[in-house]
């Protein structure tokens, strides 16, 4: 190809581009640029600003006096201690990262009131001593509330908000938090983000567990009301400490002692295979409030500054929170709105429901292809059904389209993870070219592939023996070795692998 031909190819591509430059990352960058521009204060604006700050200062001072919980850490919206909020019929918990571009969603507080958030960019639900808060990570958000007196901590000032008023928040420290490099990493690589939600347990659309349907395992725990034993909070704290430090303190102290006390009363046997964390979780399954607290604490910890081993132990506990009802929820949601499909929800699919899911995902892919659906297909394919694999293969037709690059990469990771290079090569020459390169040469693919591997690994763990044995060629060990992963997870997880793969 000579210069003239290259120029023509480029020109034709340019002329036929379709909104490729208007993705979320771009919008976030534009919002960031706009925000910077708005910060260039004109003299008149400075007068208005000074007056506004004075008034805000007075209000803040008053609010601080009247609100002992007031904090001045950063720019946050607090929801006043709710452990869980719902938006659009979906539950969110602390740690969830919500993406949006000019969209509006309602968060319903537990007291029944609503807060409307107009979102442009990324926000995260966080948690601190005062409760759950909404924190803009990039872009901006506007908050409307029908509720009096919720607090906005802004620019080191506390503002009491009147009923039905609106507050607009932007990023407090542009140089750090709103650096578009951070924002786009989170925003555009939706593949990595979704996989990360699985990895960390912070699924954006993870439904609230159905406590009634949680498997209780050993029946003796069903009769135990831990609140009647001794301080469940202490036991939860002990569990958390043990998970972080890697010491099973609950086994030695809290739980065992409490359980024994009840065991004597009920006369039921203790399963020798059960571990302390799982027992406590089963007990917590009968106490939704205590479990919500524990889960929120664990979700908060898992994204924090802890080592990989501790993270693995916590994830191991969190993935045991298997919600069978969420399968129906997933499919219902998939049918209702494909954009809200959580890849992580496919982790909870049972074999019976997989057939339905394949069909739904396939139909949805035909209508509205997306990276999330591709991830779902990857998981489905890993479950061994050809339909999932077909979906991944069909992604090859999107190669070359910048808007669907994440889909292709997701499919690439999925197919690679399936260990089927032939499939890769049949997808398309371009994808084959991508996969032909060693994974080490493609850091992004490696990252996604590794995340996928971990996620699939957990899928295997919670899906249990039948799937693994039905498809032994896809054993977790083979696949993890293929991904070059280092296993740093707990012994319990290692045992699960051994069990699932039959010791291979």
């Amino acid at each position: 190809m000579n210069r003239s031909e290259r120029a023509l190819e480029w020109g034709l591509e340019e002329l036929h581009r379709k909104d490729a430059d208007n993705d979320l990352s771009d919008q976030i960058f534009a919002a960031w640029v706009e925000n910077r521009s708005e910060r260039r204060y004109e003299p008149m604006n400075l007068v208005v600003l000074a007056a506004g700050l004075f008034v805000l200062g007075l209000v803040a001072w008053y609010s601080t006096l009247s609100d002992p919980l007031a904090t001045t850490d950063s720019e946050l919206v607090y929801l006043r201690g709710e452990e869980l909020v719902q938006g659009g019929g979906t539950s969110f918990v602390a740690g969830d990262v919500l993406l949006g571009s000019g969209q509006e969603f309602d968060l319903r507080m537990r007291d029944g009131t609503w807060m409307t958030v107009e979102q442009q960019g990324l926000l995260r639900l966080g948690e601190d001593k005062t409760g759950i808060f909404v924190e803009p990570l990039a872009g901006r958000m506007t908050v409307h509330t029908e509720r009096e007196g919720f607090r906005v901590v802004s620019n080191r000032r506390v503002l009491a908000v009147e009923k039905n008023s609106a507050v607009q928040l932007s990023i407090p420290n542009q140089e750090t938090i709103m650096d578009p490099r951070i924002a786009r990493t989170l925003a555009r690589t939706s593949a990595a983000l979704m996989l990360t939600t699985v990895l960390t347990g912070q699924a954006s659309f993870l439904p609230e567990p159905d406590f009634d349907s949680l498997p209780t395992g050993e029946t003796f725990v069903a009769d135990v009301d831990m609140r009647d034993v001794v301080g469940i909070e202490d036991k939860i704290e002990a569990l958390i400490k043990s998970l972080v430090k890697g010491e099973d303190k609950t086994k030695k102290k809290g739980l065992k002692k409490g359980s024994k006390k009840k065991l004597k009363k009920t006369g039921k046997k203790k399963s020798p295979s059960s571990s302390a964390p799982s027992k406590l979780l089963q007990i917590l399954a009968k106490d939704p409030e205590a479990w919500a607290y524990t889960r929120t604490r664990l979700l908060g910890l898992v994204s924090g500054d802890i080592d990989d081993a501790a993270r693995g132990r916590i994830l191991d506990v969190l993935v045991r929170d298997t919600d069978k009802r969420s399968v129906d929820y997933f499919i219902k949601q998939l049918k209702a709105d494909a954009s809200k499909v959580s890849w992580s929800q496919t982790l909870y699919l049972t074999e019976r429901k997989l057939k339905v899911a394949y069909k739904v995902v396939k139909n949805r892919m035909a209508e509205h292809p997306s990276p999330k659906l591709t991830h779902a297909a990857a998981i489905l394919a890993f479950h061994g059904n050809d339909s999932g694999r077909e979906i991944l293969e069909s992604v090859g037709s999107y190669v070359g389209n910048p808007k669907t690059q994440d889909m292709v990469l997701a499919a690439a990771a999925g197919l690679w993870a399936l260990g089927d290079k032939a499939t890769w090569e049949s997808v398309s020459e371009d994808v084959a070219d991508m996969v032909a390169e060693p994974l080490e040469m493609r850091p992004r693919l490696k990252k996604e592939g590794a995340l996928l591997a971990r996620a699939l690994f957990y899928a295997q763990v919670i899906e249990g023996k039948s799937i693994s044995l039905a498809y032994p060629e896809q054993s977790v060990n083979v696949f993890i070795k293929k991904m070059g992963m280092e296993m740093k997870d707990s012994e319990a997880v290692e045992k699960n692998i051994e069990r699932l793969t039959g010791g291979r």
């Binding site: 210069r3 020109g11 002329l15």
Partner: protein
């Protein structure tokens, strides 16, 4: 910690609106992957923000931003795709000839005009290939042609476009 003092005086929004598209075109000409294009463009503007050079003292801001983007892209290639570095460097040298001094705008205007001169079927075939991302088999189905026929049609259409653009450039 940033090593240089960020600039606050110039209107970033305006500079982004003026230079962003050209910068993107330039990177795409160098065959920079689309996901990297956005990253590098944003990095270039961040470099400008954090630069000690005053914007008003930069003679050719477009060239300055291209230089920043080029360094960023080439650095990336050196790390993870060294094999493509030479090709990118070659394309970079070509860019001046293709883009002239208006970020390729003139070339695209000529191309648009030349496209209008093509037969309807040729335009349709090019649209299906570049806008709809259809395969030759699909294009053939749409235009009721064989795959070989589609290949030939696309080839002839592109050759016609090249001739047309050369003619316009010469005039």
């Amino acid at each position: 910690m940033p090593t240089s003092k960020p600039q606050e005086a110039f209107d970033l929004q305006e500079q982004v609106s003026v230079h962003q598209d050209g910068l993107r075109r330039y990177l795409r000409y160098l065959r920079c992957p689309s996901d990297r294009v956005d990253d590098i463009v944003q990095e270039a503007f961040l470099s400008l923000l954090r630069s000690n050079e005053r914007v008003e003292e930069i003679d050719d801001l477009g060239a300055w931003l291209r230089c920043a983007a080029r360094h960023r892209y080439f650095d990336g290639l050196k790390t993870w795709r060294r094999g493509r570095l030479a090709e990118a460097q070659e394309l970079d040298r070509e860019w001046e000839l293709v883009a002239r001094d208006d970020a390729g705008e003139t070339y695209l205007v000529y191309l648009r005009e030349c496209m209008a001169e093509l037969e309807k079927r040729s335009r349709r075939a090019l649209h299906l290939q570049y806008a709809e991302r259809r395969s030759r088999v699909e294009i053939g189905g749409d235009l009721d042609m064989t795959v070989a026929g589609v290949k030939s049609l696309l080839s002839r259409s592109k050759a016609a476009l090249e001739r047309c653009i050369r003619r316009k450039e010469a005039s």
